[in-house]
Amino acid sequence: MSSSSAIDSVLTEAMPRVAAGANAAKYKDEAKVVQKTIEKNLGKNADNLLAKIRPVISGYSFKASAYGQQVPDVLRRLRSGIAPIEVLDSSGAMSPASVVAILNAGWELYKTDIDGFYGEFRGDVPKMERLANLNHLLFKAIEASEVARRWK
């Protein structure tokens, strides 16, 4: 059974209980009935639902370990004024940086070492233009890394 059909079956199973709750006389406000019943049933089935959902979304999650593996190299390139399109992977080959790593590196640079990035520019360049240039580098990296990923 696929994960999505497993979730469907959990929800199908819960629906009669939702309907039973909605028909109870003690609830006058239908919306409240539905809400409370859903909350109650979701609570009961939370572990089951999470067990089914986790394998589906695990490919999209970005864990702390991945942050440590991917972001520092992207950050190092960005800090020195390089659009971080590709990074060295564990095999020593260049591979497209992930969009999540690029965005996280952008935020980390902005929050922790933006003056270091600004130092790559001439003194007469306004800070707003330097910051705009950071955004342009990030945009370029996201666009080109996505093209490189699809190309390969």
Binding site: I82, A83, P96, F121
Partner: protein
């Protein structure tokens, strides 16, 4: 294309040689950036093929009668140029005897001891497409190179983003002591910055119009 990042070079130039394919591959893993390399065949002996990006700057002929470099300012530049984005998979038609600024899809960062020249690929040149006039790239330069695209032929040419229209020839250079500070690190074509040339003040002082 690189005046903003130029600075004096040291006297330690030993030999100006075109980098071999073996050296290019090694330097690409160390300190040379031409990214992304979509095909291994892009890297040849002495050069890396460069492809067309998606952003262009074209002139709005109806908005200007001339370009007078002496009187040029940012407002005037904006008035007769417009940016165009051509999505991947689409094309820009460059008509006969027309000119447009484009830029490389690849982001380039040269080491402090490597310089480069941008050249058209002969196969495109034979169809009438010229891609660069100011071809020298200084050591330490970073960004997407602005390409001056001109159709010298009689027949319109379709420009497709990601097509490998040019090549970047790379050579050893005298090593700079440090990376030059940037005015801008471009990722799209940049129009002339001649309006910022201090020489114009002196020219105006000598010959007021």
């Amino acid at each position: 294309m690189s005046a903003d990042q130029s600075m004096p070079v040291s006297e330690s130039l030993t030999s100006a040689a075109v980098l071999s394919k073996e050296t290019l591959l090694r330097r690409l893993k160390e300190d040379l950036i031409v990214s992304p390399i979509l095909e291994p065949s892009q890297i040849g002996d002495g050069s890396v093929d460069i492809s067309l990006g998606t952003r262009f700057i074209r002139s709005r002929r109806a908005k200007a009668t001339e370009i007078n470099f002496r009187e040029l300012d940012k407002e005037k530049i904006r008035s007769f140029q417009e940016s165009v984005v051509v999505p991947f998979g689409e094309h820009y038609i460059l008509h006969s005897r027309s000119f447009v600024l484009g830029c490389t899809f690849e982001f380039i960062a040269l080491p402090l001891d490597v310089c480069g020249f941008v050249l058209s690929r002969s196969s495109y040149g034979r169809a009438g497409l010229l891609i660069a006039t100011a071809t020298f790239v200084h050591p330490g330069w970073r960004g997407c190179l602005t390409l001056e695209l001109e159709n010298l032929g009689e027949i319109p040419i379709k420009l497709h983003p990601l097509s490998a229209v040019g090549q970047l020839v790379l050579l050893n250079a005298a090593k700079l002591p440090e990376r030059p500070k940037a005015k801008i690190i471009p990722v799209s074509p940049t129009f002339t910055t001649l309006n910022e040339d201090p020489r114009w003040k002196k020219i105006k002082a000598l010959s007021p119009e």
